[in-house]
Symmetry: C2
Amino acid sequence: MIAITTIQELLHHMRTRRREYPDDRIGLVPTMGYLHEGHASLMRRSKAECGFSVLSIFVNPLQFGPNEDFDRYPRDAERDLALAERNGIDLVFMPSVQEMYPSKPLTSVIISQVTDRLCGASRPGHFDGVGTVVSKLFHLTQPDRAYFGMKDAQQVAVIQRMVDDLNIQVEIVPCETVRESDGLAMSSRNVYLSPDARAQAVVLSQALTEAEQAVKEAGMTVKELEARIRETIAKAPLADIDYAEVLDYPDLTVPSAEVDLSQYPNKLIVALAVKFGSTRLIDNRLLDSHGGERHV
Amino acid sequence: MIAITTIQELLHHMRTRRREYPDDRIGLVPTMGYLHEGHASLMRRSKAECGFSVLSIFVNPLQFGPNEDFDRYPRDAERDLALAERNGIDLVFMPSVQEMYPSKPLTSVIISQVTDRLCGASRPGHFDGVGTVVSKLFHLTQPDRAYFGMKDAQQVAVIQRMVDDLNIQVEIVPCETVRESDGLAMSSRNVYLSPDARAQAVVLSQALTEAEQAVKEAGMTVKELEARIRETIAKAPLADIDYAEVLDYPDLTVPSAEVDLSQYPNKLIVALAVKFGSTRLIDNRLLDSHGGERHV
């Protein structure tokens, strides 16, 4: 496995690889590091589907708000490299902020509408930063496929939309969320949780499982379903709800208030962001029209 | 020469070409059609430098304001194809609006600061449309080099900045403005001019030539130079100045009012936009610190 930090090396390796194996598929797994089993599942999928797999590790300052956790975002390069190697990665690109943004970037890739709600609303500018850095990584790596976890379902919708709109020649592969044994979605931010908060954080996946059942009830409305979800989460005394929404997926528009969700014709997403102290967790579930889980 | 209208055909041809001639350079000449000798010079440069030259012809609605000339922008596909073939183009991509924007695009590539002045100020949203469509064309064609005329000097600065910021792997090649025998910069919009306006339009290049001399005068200030330029243009009774500015290039920032331009340490650009009736013409000249013309 090759580990590099500069754009020049990355371009060189990609060029060489492409020239030597023109028929090989190239996979990209873009991450912010502090890798866990969720990331490992993306890497293994890339390994299985591609002849050459690239992992990027970059905590992108552009996608953090001024009061967010950029500085304290967890980092552990050594452990990440070991995990990448074990999971079939061929090249790790781990640039510095200076390498990715040698001067103040004047160009932004801005995706509207699908960013109006959820994390787009809670974290102004977040998806501008995501769109910009992901397009940079796509240009540098020119992968055939790029692997993203569905825990960040809005991110997947946003990136798919960017790729479609800008004709970026890459296939976005959404991968199922990996969970702890009690159902908590794996996240690099889980390490922030106090033992009490960690125990209570299970309410997110519980609320989603309940929503999956509740949406099948005849006459279930958006308002009623969101109220049920909030009620479940409220059982965790440390939980502070940022958002708990039921939306159309992948358009992320709001179904009309009166619609009977059990008869809803499109895919739905239940999306949650819940704070435990200063740690903000997100989770979601896709539901199809008759309330079954939608596999991605 | 191949002429195609769909993205699918374009991707197919580019993929095949790249596979068969992996060492050949690919050149792209993005245009809005109604080609003239200026475009022809870009095509010939691409032909000379690249093994395969692509011309795109697309009048991009995104870069026209609501009161601009999108609908009446001149078009002549047949003549364009003949000119392209004569000038060494291998493939012409001429998509419909529907092909380029099958649904309302939600993604924009937005370049700030270098778009604050000149056409960026006069035509709000213009460079968002340019950035977006040029990035689409780059993704579809994946050229090694892309050729742009320096008549649109701000466009060149904007695209170079976009390419740098987003790490798009293409070399931008700025090409010198081609002029009519009396000095008028070639433009598809010149056909709009009445005979009187056409005769008077020569004041743009005259004002630029005078500016080139005037900037060498000791103590010349931005204000004084701009006043001289305006004075020259005002001699044409039909001329209505949109802007006449002296800026730093390629940053397109305003030099301080008191600075002695004859001693200016960086490149300068004199940029003009002048309306003759409803026809808006632009032209510019790059000046170096000692007032000589800067060749691109």
